[in-house]
């Protein structure tokens, strides 16, 4: 009974998914369930497949085999309407921010909700202003991405993703380009989002951040999931030796 109850909470279910970049096997037999409102962190060395996993969930990397379910329905990655559907529910913040270089900050945030989701422009504008104020960029509305620092671009990207009103937010290395005083602000917004029931999948190298916000931590290496554990356990008594090595190395560097 307990099991059934838990299963009904799964918002994303990934079952033995494999994905390739050309011939490079970047995701190997990935099994992962993410519940509604959960914050799951992905940690692991560079090239371990963390970003690839996020990309797969928005259909930018098509799995060769395996199954992915979103809210219980199986996603057919070859089907355009399935792709549209997952991209409507899942928003991603890229590691390189990927802001549209030809648009100012406000337009970057507003374009997809107005042009793609066809929402009321006035409403979208209000929401964008609110979100940009929340990330502390209310005085940069007319700036272009190349006039902003990395941390500022990062925050625009977060506001842009949130303005799409997603159910699930994927964050790729969001704290890496942030100034220390902003990390707290962004973390606070993320915590607030989590309390509002937003499901989040976060790739991060900030172990303190991971420890603080995650409900579960996933350790990946060489395209495979090595260990899934609570944040406390993964840092203090990991099950796998590879996790121990990684965590030990990271903590020693601090």
């Amino acid at each position: 009974m307990e099991n059934l109850w838990r299963e009904s909470l799964h918002q994303i279910e990934i079952k033995s998914a494999n994905a390739f970049y050309e011939k490079l096997h970047v995701l190997k037999d990935i099994d992962l369930n993410i519940d509604k409102g959960e914050i799951v962190s992905l940690i692991g060395p560079s090239g371990s497949g963390k970003s690839s996993l996020l990309k797969m969930l928005v259909g930018l990397l098509i799995p060769k085999s395996g199954k992915v379910f979103l809210n219980k329905s199986l996603i057919n990655f070859d089907n355009q309407s399935d792709l549209r559907n997952i991209r409507e529910q899942i928003a991603i913040v890229f590691q390189q921010y990927n802001l549209f270089q030809n648009m100012n900050v406000l337009k970057n945030v507003c374009i997809a909700p107005t042009k793609i989701q066809k929402r009321n422009p006035k409403e979208v504008n209000e929401q964008a202003l609110y979100l940009l104020e929340k990330v502390g960029l209310q005085d940069k509305l007319k700036s272009y991405p190349d006039e902003l620092s990395g941390g500022q671009q990062q925050r625009v990207a977060i506001a842009r993703a949130l303005c799409l009103n997603p159910q699930i937010l994927l964050l790729d290395e969001i704290t890496s380009a942030l100034d220390p005083e902003l990390v707290k602000e962004v973390l606070d917004s993320i915590r607030l989002l989590a309390s509002e029931g937003m499901t989040m999948l976060i790739v991060s190298h900030e172990m303190n951040f991971v420890k603080e916000v995650s409900s579960r931590v996933v350790f990946m290496d060489d395209g495979s999931i090595i260990e899934v554990n609570s944040p406390k356990n993964i840092f203090e008594k990991p099950k796998e030796k590879r996790t121990l090595d990684f965590v030990g190395k990271i903590l020693k560097e601090k």
Binding site: K55, V58, G59, L60, R84, R87, E88, A91, I92, F94, Q96, N98, L99, F100, Q101, N102, I111, A112, K115, I116, Q117, Y144, D146, L164
Partner: protein, 227 residues
């Protein structure tokens, strides 16, 4: 020099001026039609060539074959080729029509390639971000890729246009009465080459200079990221 001054009143008679103006019109039309058709059709070819749809695969293949062939044949050769094909197949013996078609075919291949490389100059991350937000291919091109790619497309495109004004001189080889041919005829009539060709030099400049300024204007207008 004396001879030149002596000739000038006879050279600039009303008939000769009309003759040159007509020839200039032909040069202008050949260039303008070639560039307009080349830019629009070439743009479409570039857009189709970059699609990922399987249905358009044969079309993409044809586009690549077409572009690669006509960018490799010298302009004069394709001109003669079209000329003889039209003659043999009795399609038309209108020289201006033949020259215009050749010009369009060549310009399309070249400008298509310029536009394609412009599209490709935009980082894949922009496509990824757009795709993740459900932009379609055409929406991505319109809203994100082209506004950034103009910067890369416009300078070589206008460079090509200006080169093209001069290349249309080759149409004289199949007998189209454009500027170069007109100068040759005046020269044959006994006017000094310096006067005949000097005049068309100025006329070529008059044609190309505004185009160059227009190109600079479009670059300022379209190619800045601030639009």
């Amino acid at each position: 020099m004396e001879r030149l001054i002596e000739e000038i009143p006879n050279f600039f008679t009303i008939w000769n001026v009309i003759f040159l103006a007509k020839a200039m019109g032909v040069t202008f039309l050949l260039t303008a039609i070639g560039c307009l058709v080349g830019f629009s059709v070439g743009g479409l070819l570039a857009v189709f060539r970059k699609t990922k749809s399987y249905y358009l695969l044969p079309l993409r293949f044809l586009i690549i074959v077409y572009t690669e062939i006509f960018r490799r044949i010298p302009f004069l050769v394709s001109l003669l080729l079209f000329f003889y094909v039209f003659q043999i197949m009795r399609i038309s013996d209108n020289l201006f029509l033949i020259a215009t078609i050749t010009v369009c075919v060549i310009a399309t291949a070249y400008i298509g390639e310029i536009i394609r490389s412009g599209i490709e100059s935009i980082n894949q991350t922009q496509w990824d971000a757009a795709a993740a937000m459900n932009f379609t291919y055409y929406q991505t091109l319109k809203e994100i890729i082209f506004p950034q790619a103009w910067k890369v497309i416009l300078p070589p495109a206008f460079g090509f246009f200006i080169m093209f004004i001069k290349d249309t001189a080759l149409a004289s080889q199949i007998g189209v009465m454009e500027l170069t041919f007109a100068a040759k005829i005046l020269n044959n009539k006994g006017f000094s080459p310096l006067l005949s060709f000097g005049t068309i030099l100025i006329l070529y400049f008059i044609l190309s200079f505004p185009l160059d300024r227009f190109g600079k204007f479009m670059e300022r207008k379209l190619a800045s990221n601030r639009n």
